[in-house]
Assembly symmetry: C2
Homo-oligomer: 212 residues x 2
DNA sequence: GGAGAAGATGAGTCTTTGCTCAGATCCTCG
DNA sequence: CGAGGATCTGAGCAAAGACTCATCTTCTCC
């Protein structure tokens, strides 16, 4: 009623037109990702990011409306990278027998998490209730992907609830990998762990089928 | 060389001696846990906590050296509570057949996470690289517990690497539950999910054994 | 009752951080 | 070359939050 307070008086974000603008944006995102990965969310202040990127804070705010927007962009890029790695590791799986396919899947998921483990963790921490959307959407997509892959080989599997099984597998494996990454990062290279994951997947599939 | 800078000039924390002191401490911890659970780590400022607890900030700092110490205390209490719930839900499992024992384990783990889901999540977020020690120690203990339980029924199981299997199961289930809690909290009550978890555990155990 | 310890207060200090703005500098293109 | 837009600068503002301290109140116990 009183004064019509302007909510968003200016649209701050500028899309780079000249190439040097793009270079600057990349430098900022890169710097932020590095700090995030190396020192955690708390250290990733806008000033620190700008300093590391070698630009002034003013420049940073020319391209990002606020700190959140910057984090969101990092999340977007990270997810895209993971997606690419996953897709690459999963090509040409159609012809494989189940155990071989599972091996392939395990190494794909591990590889995907190895892209930028510290950053992945930092994002999961800092993206409080907001940018997790991006990551969540990706995880949902992965679950759907796995579910359809399970349905795809219907003959030898015949699961009563492929989606449910996919959900359990994807979330379980993801959690396992994230916990391991945080507590014993070096262990991700342990072949025994990969075998154990394989056993978990195959066992879960077998046991789930029997229930049909 | 120059001035011998005093590092920790005062030990600020006072242990409550009179009963009203204990009451105050409890109120503070309780208030902090509530804010943490309801609004996340960022909202849990020392001033907000003191206000909610109905005491002045000065009082808060009489009992806690700093914000970290307060968070650490909350972590300690939360872990203790989870431990109690888990222990309670696991008593008298010795005589049970494997499937029944697994059912029991599943509901115990779910119950344990249901103690204070939002707080659990907030702690996992805020306890950056510090108080996670407390939670980590607990999780390690759970892994050891499960491992020994697996060894305990050696006859019908005979796993080649009980610790590894326990690790995979505990971390996998924990991750699955945490993810579900964050994205679809209501689903934790879904019996189908419990069944799927059961299948995962039984399947993993069976498949792991076969490898021996 | 009253001395002294335990407990509580909260205004205020100090620091940090997100973010703005009034310009300076660089590029493109006619 | 030079006009005008794109880009960049960085001192500094305002807000927020952790924490202190001088002082007051309440309790214990002889």
């Amino acid at each position: 009623m009183a004064a019509p307070a302007r909510k968003k008086p200016v649209k701050r974000r500028r899309s780079p037109i000249q190439s040097r603008g793009q270079v600057t944006v990349d430098a900022i995102v890169e710097a932020a990702a590095q700090i995030l990965a190396k020192k955690g969310p708390a250290a990733a202040t806008t000033n620190a990011v700008a300093a590391r990127a070698g630009v002034s804070i003013g420049t940073l705010y020319q391209y990002f409306a606020d700190r959140e927007a910057l984090l969101r962009e990092i999340g977007r890029r990270h997810v895209a990278e993971m997606q690419a790695v996953l897709a690459g590791a999963l090509t040409g799986m159609e012809g494989l027998a189940l155990p071989a396919a599972v091996d392939r899947l395990v190494s794909a998921i591990v590889a995907m998490h190895r892209v930028a483990p510290r950053l992945h963790q930092a994002l999961h921490q800092s993206l409080a209730r907001d940018h997790l959307d991006t990551i969540d959407a990706f995880e949902v997509a992965v679950e759907a992907m796995v579910a359809s892959a399970l349905v795809g080989r219907g003959d030898d599997l015949d699961l009563p609830h492929p989606e449910l099984t996919a959900t359990v597998l994807v979330r379980g494996l993801g959690g396992l990998i994230r916990t391991t990454l945080r507590r014993e990062p070096e262990r991700l290279d342990d072949p025994a762990l990969a075998l154990a994951m394989r056993a978990m997947i195959l066992g879960t599939l077998g046991e789930s089928r029997r229930k049909g």
